[in-house]
């Protein structure tokens, strides 16, 4: 039993900052079962409207989706990352419900947010709010569990820095659209990875442009994509939920 004492001394030296890296990577890892892969962010609809005709059209499409994600969702991620309390979360969740006027996007956001909160309650047991919020609000009809709000809240509770949280939100969106693109056969997996690396600089510019804003300033920047994404329910044959 002698060796166990020296081992526990080493464990006590791991600081919280190092452990935070593991948490961050886990939250961004596609292996986390949050159901993000059921959504194409309007890509499937854009393909069927012939707005994307060839693989070269994918890069500008993704950049536009990320720009709109920045303008619409980063204010919610930012505000909740700074104030990760239940009252602020419930108020902003209701505000985002009114702001997501696109029914397809609104339902996708609620589905993904619910899944993320459920996983967080099971996995990140050092924070109690996810479990308490679920117990208090599920089935009440008072909140909608929108994804950006749940994500912002979690990053705040887990101690992510604000800029990192906003960058992570854009990263996850890019990750999911590229995944949808490979499943829709727009590009192969290697080409998708090449694109992901290429788009990183524009993605960072987008984070810089839209970060740290108030929710009153949330806006959408691409009415064409918004209209097209809204057509998702009219697709006769579809792979994705949105």
């Amino acid at each position: 039993m002698d060796h166990s004492t020296s081992k526990s001394c080493t464990n006590a030296n791991h600081d919280d900052k190092s452990l935070l890296h593991w948490t961050q990577w886990q939250l961004l890892d596609s292996v986390l079962p949050t159901g993000g892969f059921a959504h194409s962010y309007g890509l499937e609809s854009a393909l069927q409207s012939n707005l994307i005709k060839q693989p070269e059209d994918l890069k500008p499409f993704i950049i536009q989706v990320l720009d709109n994600t920045g303008s619409l969702f980063l204010p919610f991620v930012h505000t909740l990352n700074k104030s990760p309390d239940t009252e602020t979360w419930a108020r902003l969740d209701n505000l985002l419900e009114a702001t997501l006027t696109n029914e397809v996007a609104r339902k996708a956001s609620a589905t993904q947010g619910s899944a993320l909160l459920r996983i967080a309650a099971s996995v990140f047991r050092e924070i109690t709010e996810p479990k308490l919020i679920r117990e208090r609000f599920i089935g009440s009809g008072l909140v909608f569990f929108h994804h950006a709000c749940v994500f912002g809240l979690l990053t705040g509770l887990l101690g992510f820095d604000g800029r990192m949280a906003q960058r992570a939100y854009i990263f996850m969106t890019m990750r999911d659209v590229l995944s949808a693109a490979t499943r829709l056969n727009v590009v192969g997996p290697i080409a998708a990875s090449v694109l992901q690396h290429e788009i990183a600089s524009e993605a960072e510019e987008i984070v810089e442009k839209w970060r740290d804003r108030d929710v009153e300033d949330a806006c959408q920047t691409n009415p064409l994509l918004d209209t097209v994404q809204g057509c998702h329910a009219y697709l006769f044959s579809r792979l994705f939920c949105s």
């Binding site: 012939n50 950049i63 006027t101 056969n185 987008i206 064409l224």
Partner: protein
Amino acid sequence: MAETETTSGIVTVEKVRGRSTITRCFFRYPLKLILPKKVGSSQVDAVWIYALSYGGGIVSGDQISCKISVGDGCTASVTTQASTKVYKSVDSKCSEQVLEAIIGNEAFLALIPDPVTCFSTARYNQKQNFRIVSGSNLVVVDWITSGRYQSGEKWDFTSYKSTNCIYLDNDRPIFIDSVLLERSFICDIAERMQYYQVIAMVILLGPKLKNLQNQIKEEVKKMMSVKLRPPTTNFGRHAKSEAQHDRLVPDLIASCSTFGPQGVGSVIRVTATTTEAVYAFLRTHLSSLEVFLGAPPYCQSGS
């Protein structure tokens, strides 16, 4: 409603001897309001208000703010005589139009203007707030063209922002939509909009509009279902795949979403390659509003 130094217009509609009547109408430069008596059928109880700008457009730096109140059971229609031109920005000044509207119980407000057209380098901000109760009825058309696109001026303005907010029982937001189109190094407006020169949004809300909401939802679904097709299996494999390139981009794309508690409202978004196509869409799908307004929207407008 209190008139302040910056108020450009105030209109109050109330029931007088059982009929919708404009009991107050105030306006000052740069806004002009015209209240024609004989727009619609006299069988229908509705008042019509035409909002005009001096010189036919909004000049750099103009600030226009207007308040309208539609009392219980009244119907009012607000429109324009022609598209609203927003002229180029001088000294980077931004022009702004703000509307505050209060709609009472069983009241009906139809805001059915011609589109806004921003000229090259223009900067324009528009904000419309609607305060409703559960029995209110509202139709809002908010739309913009890319510029003098037939002369090649396409999405050449500097900045356009339009915000529409609907608040239930004074402070509960049920619809908050803000569209921002501005010059950006990340992505040009023209590149974002591709072949499309017009974007429009139609909001329908309230018990009197339930049937129309359901009807439009079906019509849009039917129209779009034939325009959307999965790409052919040759997608991306052959650069000159004729099957893919032959498929044209639709001239008009529309989608319909419900919003609000119990889906009380619907919002239809439209993008099109020509203004005429959107006028035709609005004329066709809003024609049944004649029974409420006395005249069908957009029948004298456009081509």
